[in-house]
Symmetry: D2
Subunit: 341 residues, 4 copies
């Protein structure tokens, strides 16, 4: 059997715990060898649950662990810069969950250290590994839809997370926290974004005003190649977790996404109904695993990362421009940022 | 402008009134010139509503009307024999709604007179004119599904009609009244039926026992070419009027039918729902019109009838065999009937 | 039988001919008594086809016809002003196809004469009579989706009409010709529009540049009540005629539209497929008829018009703002127009 | 952490290898501790792949292994009797893949030893653990569809397995190998079967005649409670792996199943299409895991087995009756078997 990659997971929140479980059980090329969380009890509990011998309160200790080949950074975004930079200097291969950071300056700092150290670094944008998006990318490249013309995508949560989670100083706000997936896919499938214009508001949860964020938004955009895009975001879909996208071309169109979770229809008097996908875990479990699998294979076989720090920066840049467009109620050009990437 | 066909409608029940309206307004090649119904007030009312100058209580008077080129027979089935035979002798072109009769002997008598008089005669089986069935027929002939292997079809009413209507002596019972459409399509798309076996019962409406009919049934069958079929019938779909069919082949499959009436989805908490087709009128309006249009064109251009008395007899024959199979709980061969068609 | 409304149809292009046919055959409360078209042969041909005794080359002659109670204005848009004003002065009830005019000034002139003469005037926006839109309006009013939050709608043609038809001086351009339906529904379901921002381009048909119009566009918008909207338009859907809409609320969401024309699925190796709605006639035939039926009933029973000149002006106003937003690449406020409605 | 169940897997064919992988990685309550296969190299390879220290050529050696608490029997069906009986006598908890055996006599022998030894024994019918079937069972029990009236189910493979696999002496033939899932679900959702009547034939693969089996069949049935059923089977769906079912009741209907694998629609000229579920693994992966999870939990917590030997016998009994009905072309009553279960 080939050598496996020894992985340490830093940050054991909801997603971090999932990732740790995937490393322990679902990745044929990897072993989970260590976990860390500032909440030591959480780290210990996960370690025991997953049959891992080492857990750390301090991520630095995990980085000092010689058994650890690679790390997954799943901490709060505010810690990404410190962890990624320390890991790069410690010579670990790095997978970092989106968003890379909440500011482009921090991103550039991270990118500088990655380049300087030559560390392997891969961004996490799991949608790129979902079978629908993979198929769309391939079909576009195969010419199935001719020339691309419009990109549309929708991200909707059933209802809002906690206000604590949503605070813009933690989450980055609606565009950075939620929209960044749509911006990343927009770039991946259509090309670079030239400008954005945002309409948004607090329309479902008045309490959002207290934390200074919006709960609904629509961003339209020009791509640099002249094509058009529109992304809509909502915290209050109510009916279910709804992620879908469309790429309209001159010779065909692709529609991505689905809504039904359980394959059963209930047929009552003049009413046919079905349930819905409840959340990101049910919708994207396989994409998460395939994304980590890809990271592991890229490290083991010394391939290029599938998604780079530049991708992380570019998506953040659009999200920040969309935020600013809303605040200033005007179209924002992406190149406006000095030293733009 | 070309000559139009002058049509008289005999029988102004629910379907007869629809047909009269279609003749008056929807058929470019026909005029409605007369109507008749034993309920004279009904005849008069329809005539006025449709701006027709002549109405008759007695269908014989309509047949004596020299202005009438062609008639639609939409009376209760028990009168079909008398009306069709009289019309054939009166030299009218005849369209007769299904079923041709409730007994094969009567059918043969009708057929004899049609042949003897040379009258133009066309059976009514509107499904053959529905766009889905037309497309299926064409695709089968074009080889899209390769060799045919299985035929499945379903007919379901939302709930039972009145007991008076359902009495087998009037309606012919579930297999003749409702199943005959499925048997006709089975023959049309697959070939002649060799044998049938029926399971059936009174499962939803106990009062059906009083009139001596069942409310649910499944008939499976061998076709003479060795292929297989299954038809299920229900008076209690509740959710909507559901007519669908499937033809499974060696290189593909066709599925026919649809359920949603209004093109709107209502998305509530963990529930996506839509309404349903309420009844035969909404589902098959265009097929009814196209069927009459076809009759008119065939008469005007002296073409062969699209559906013949033989088709009416063959479908009835299967329906009666299915009935007998249920009663005797054994497979029934179609050729068993002496003098079988 | 009640009195019927005697209708004259002015303009016998594609839609005008359809309307004339509906008046002749499909409206229980109306008679078609006259038609006019500048192409006299066309007028005569339609009159004969529909069994109407009077046809006119000059619409004024039709307006002078004492038998005519009401007219449908289905001429090129550039003639709407003259015909509507003359008809109002001639005391006819008026139905005018969208758009009311290509300029707001002309609209205001028309509106002035309507008010002055007291003529019955109803605008044509057939989507408001489609069963999906009717259901959506009702469900919103019933509180099914709670508070409205986002409106999205899509209009796509399979491919572009002739350049001659598309010339902005005739059609008004993409936003006036095609988008006006979406703008009207936006107002009807969400409320007045406050501002718009448009991204657009010539992306599929380079020859559109010659006539000075775009072939794809996305308009996002604030409504005056703070809710959000996005409308996307395309001349090159290729796959089919696709009209759909969505209203997202705080307690539910409504999705309107459908794509399959023939109720058959073709299932081949690893491929399930179906056809699509080809065009506006197939998609909206019933809505067109219901719209005319509503006009007839409103006139006969002296009810208020369902859709007014103000509705025509407001939708045009948004379409013109969307056009200007594209041209100037900035958000445009609707109230910016002096003397705005 | 609680004690885990130590599992040995006997038989490492396609399904056995999957099961071994699930035990190694996907069941939180179990460890895979040993595997066996008559092909020793296969056993060794799987053991190494799954990081298991013990592999056996001879299943008896695995049964002698004191570390093994429970076994999964995934051998060819012809070996089920020997393995299950030996395992029962060795005191192991037993999970046995369907069908229990190819003859009722062998089944009864197995059942006798299970009862005599008191061994824990659970049959494998994974559909009972699929979310759609679980939901259907619950909804029926909750009264959602009122009284049950009809049961319909369909099982279709894309194309036939190898003739070697299909030989009735190995597979049991179409009704035992494939239909047994439908018969089991029929019993589970509707109640005991009273009689069956089968139509069947070699319609797609002429070479099936050589091995003495059919490739297409439709079985209709009476349940003992008077309700009706129909099951259709095909080896040549071509379009995809299609498993669906329907339960029609007096107050509603349930439809189970789905066809699309990748959540993307491709929209080309007058054609909307999507791909299909390729096979049992993609369709039922989660059900397989949930089924093993259930077995593990039942053993660990000393609960009753979810599916018993009697269930295995009853489903086999129906499958054999369906086979005989085809061979003798007559309805077959289930109680006809002497000593019937």
């Amino acid at each position: 059997m080939n050598k496996k990659l020894n992985i340490g997971v830093i940050g054991l929140g909801r997603l971090g715990s999932l990732y740790a479980g995937y490393c322990a059980n679902r990745l044929s090329g990897a072993n989970l060898v260590a976990v860390s969380d500032v909440r030591e009890a959480v780290a210990q509990e996960q370690a025991e649950l997953l049959d891992v011998s080492r857990w750390y309160k301090n991520y630095q200790d995990l980085l000092d662990d010689k058994e650890v080949d690679a790390i997954l950074v799943v901490t709060p975004t505010s810690l990404h810069k410190a962890v990624v930079i320390d890991a790069a200097r410690a010579g670990k291969a790095i997978f970092c969950e989106k968003p890379l950071s909440l500011s482009v300056d921090e991103c550039l700092e991270i990118k500088g250290v990655i380049e300087q150290t030559g560390a392997f670094f891969q961004m996490g944008f799991m949608r790129r590994f979902d079978s629908a998006y993979v198929a769309a990318k391939q079909k576009i490249e195969d010419g199935v839809i001719g020339k691309r013309v419009q990109y549309k995508s929708t991200s909707r949560d059933r209802n809002r997370p906690s206000l604590e989670f949503l605070k813009p100083e933690h989450s980055g706000g609606l565009f950075v926290d939620m929209g960044i997936h749509d911006f990343d896919i927009a770039r991946w499938l259509m090309g670079e974004v030239k400008s954005v214009y945002t309409v948004a508001g607090v329309l479902a949860y008045p309490e959002m005003k207290e934390i200074g964020d919006v709960d609904n938004a629509i961003v339209n955009m020009y791509f640099e190649n002249g094509t058009l895009g529109a992304i809509d975001l909502s915290r209050n879909a109510i009916y279910g977790y709804d992620i879908h996208a469309e790429i309209l071309g001159t010779e065909g169109t692709l529609q991505l996404g689905y809504l039904r979770e359980t394959p059963i229809q209930v047929m009552k008097e003049n009413d046919i109904s079905h349930d819905t996908v409840p959340g990101f875990y049910e919708r994207f479990e396989k994409a998460y695993i395939d994304q980590l699998d890809n990271f592991v294979e890229n490290v083991l076989h010394e391939r290029e990362p599938a998604i780079t720090a530049n991708d992380g920066i570019a998506a953040l840049n659009i999200a920040l421009a969309a935020t600013r467009s809303y605040q200033e109620n005007k179209p924002v050009e992406l190149y406006e940022r000095e030293g733009g990437v």
